[in-house]
């Protein structure tokens, strides 16, 4: 029981790091980015290449994956995404699904279709035994890293000038622009940062989630669930939603394994029927 809780928490934390960039993108520009998982996959493959082929230490591979994906995200944002912000939701969905298809096929072409594994240092393998609960060291690392990241994000968002600009832009873009905030730049930076986080999540999660070319399609729905259930008005909502999702998914797969992800979809639909704008959305819907 506690092991499920522990694994679920690790899983949920991972999902949060993967999805929080998406929630900000969606909240800020009202932009539906189905290709978010492609950046996570890029981060994962980047780590695989760095750690397994070049022999960079794992601890250095993670930040490098973050940087590489952030760069990639920033580049895509400036060259491709800027053209699509003002379009209808249908266009955005089509555009980003197109990107997903391209990334899946391109990864298949470059890296092959088999599943990839990141070589984890021996120090991180094995389990601790605390009060009779087996805790995987790697999962513990994930919880610690993701927990620190979440705290840092929350601090950036609430305490720094950039954070307040970002929140202002999320709340009302036009007024924020009128106050002299460069919304485009704020968005570009946030997009790059969010992609970087996704890449980091992909690198960390390669071990747990599995890494193969269909990654963006497989997990797209999970990211979207986090965002739609959590709402887009902060990072607390998505954080709680991803914990709920992680624990629910692990528990569901443990207790009713044959139903697979059915439990998760059912929960999501139920939540969306009761609260169409997410569990933790603020009162007014825009």
């Amino acid at each position: 029981m506690l092991t499920i809780l522990f694994d679920g928490t690790a899983y949920g934390m991972l999902l949060f790091v993967l999805a929080c960039g998406l929630s900000v993108t969606l909240g800020l520009m009202n932009f539906i980015n189905l290709a978010h998982g492609a950046f996570a996959m890029a981060g994962g493959y980047c780590t695989v290449v760095l750690v397994n082929r070049i022999g960079v230490p794992f601890a250095l591979g993670l930040p490098l994956a973050f940087l590489a994906t952030a760069l990639l995200g920033g580049l895509c944002e400036r060259t491709l995404y800027v053209h699509v912000y003002a379009r209808s939701h249908l266009d955005q969905v089509l555009f980003t699904i197109g990107l997903v298809f391209m990334s899946v096929a391109a990864t298949d072409y470059v890296m092959g279709s088999s599943q990839q594994f990141v070589r984890i240092p021996d120090a991180l393998q094995g389990q601790f035994n605390v009060f009779g609960i087996g805790m995987g060291k790697y999962r513990l690392l994930i919880i610690v890293v993701c927990g620190v990241l979440t705290l840092a994000l929350q601090l950036i968002l609430t305490k720094t000038r950039f954070g307040s600009r970002l929140r202002a832009a999320v709340d009302d873009q036009r007024v924020a622009r009128g106050l002299g905030i460069n919304v485009g730049a704020v968005f570009g930076i946030t997009f790059a940062f969010g992609s970087g986080l996704a890449g980091l999540g992909g690198a960390l999660g390669a071990e747990i989630l599995g890494l193969d070319p269909t990654f963006p399609l497989k997990y797209m729905i999970y990211f979207l669930i986090v965002v739609t259930v959590g709402g887009t008005s902060g990072i607390i909502g998505p954080f709680l939603a991803s914990l709920l999702l992680g624990i629910g998914d692990v528990a569901g797969k443990y207790y009713v394994p044959t139903l697979g992800a059915f439990v998760i979809y059912a929960i999501m639909i139920a939540v969306l029927i009761v609260r169409p704008h997410g569990l933790f959305a603020r009162g007014t819907a825009r």
Partner: protein, 349 residues
């Protein structure tokens, strides 16, 4: 009838008139039965895809509901048609087809209440979630559906007891094309009716159409149900013509491809899905022979390019091409009939 009402009725009737181009389209479609007998297998798939795309066009192009879950209806009815044929519950394919459509429509009716609420994203998630849930269910109850191996042992009886399905797909093609035509007639009648106009109003602005007395939710439920029925018939056709049904009828890929088909053809004028299906199928066929493994990449690239070019610009090209074609046909016909009156026919939609 007051003069105003009469003139409105007349202009509605004029809009609904069959244009030369439409007649030419269907003549060409039915001519392919005799002209392209060696292509019937792929044409069968095209006709099914066209019907499926038509169902999405009804809700996307006319009512403005973005859905990533049409595969739910397609797959449910596909399995239903396969199961009734396998266990011999309903032997006549046409009756089975209608029943499958009804089953899908019932599912559409139930789930339509889920899409009434929330924004585009919520709708997207709910429709996607429903189809994924059904996919999980079909996987779970593999003793009924055959699971990952697909539903085996489906034998479909001859249509109306007369025409047996052959391995070259001749019967199947005529059957699918006829069903497509009948469904198209229903859809066409519908969208040119006041009901169809009210749907366009809802797509334009749901709040205002509510204010002028259109029952928004009831209309959306009605069109969603009908569209689900059409999608279901497409799924049943696929099962009947291939005598097989597998889990991928419920996959996300199917719904995403469907959006692409409709976008290639253009939304909101009924022929978009049909033309898109023809282009898509033959393009897929062509790309798949070039690079069998990576055709997904080119499909993705196509989507990205379409969006970057802009759908409104593409719609303008469509319009221009259509006008040119229509002018050509009217002129050709007028010249045949009476050269002196050439160009007199106004070209209606």
């Amino acid at each position: 009838m007051t003069p105003l009402a009469a003139s409105v009725a007349q202009s509605l009737k004029r809009r609904a008139r069959w244009s030369v181009l439409e007649i030419a389209f269907w003549v060409a479609a039915f001519a392919s039965i005799w002209l392209l007998p060696q292509k019937h297998l792929i044409l069968t798939e095209t006709a099914i895809l066209a019907l499926f795309a038509l169902s999405l066009d009804l809700i996307l192009g006319y009512a403005g509901i973005i859905s990533l879950g049409q595969a739910a209806f397609f797959g449910t009815a596909g399995y239903f048609a396969g199961l009734v044929a396998k266990y011999g519950l309903i032997n006549d394919p046409v009756l089975a087809l209608v029943c499958s459509g009804l089953v899908a429509a019932a599912l559409g009716f139930v789930t339509s209440f889920l899409v009434l609420r929330g924004s585009d994203l919520t709708r997207l998630m709910v429709t996607l979630g429903v189809s994924l849930m059904l996919g999980e269910l079909a996987n779970r109850y593999s003793d009924i559906t055959g699971g990952a191996d697909g539903l085996q042992g489906v034998t479909v009886a001859p249509i109306l007891g007369l025409f047996a399905f052959d391995m070259f797909g001749h019967t199947g093609y005529v059957y699918c094309l006829s069903v497509l035509f009948v469904c198209f007639l229903v859809a066409r009648r519908l969208v040119y009716s006041p009901f169809g106009l009210s749907l366009r109003a809802i797509k334009g602005n749901a709040l205002r159409s509510g204010a002028i007395g259109i029952p928004v939710n009831a209309r959306l439920v009605a069109i969603y149900t009908l569209s689900a029925g059409f999608a279901g018939m497409a799924g049943a056709l696929l099962t009947q013509t291939t005598a097989f049904c597998s889990l991928d009828v419920l996959s996300l890929q199917r719904s995403a491809d469907l959006l692409l088909v409709l976008i290639i053809g253009g939304t909101g004028y009924l022929y978009g899905g049909l033309i898109g299906a023809v282009i898509y199928k033959f393009m897929q066929d062509w790309i798949a022979t070039l690079t069998p493994q990576y055709w997904q990449f080119w499909i993705g690239l196509l989507l990205v390019v379409i969006v970057l070019v802009g759908r409104d610009r593409m719609a303008a090209w469509h319009e221009a091409a259509r006008a040119a074609l229509a002018r050509f046909f009217t002129r050709a016909l007028a010249w045949r009939r009476r050269p002196a009156l050439g160009g007199a026919a106004p070209d209606g939609r």
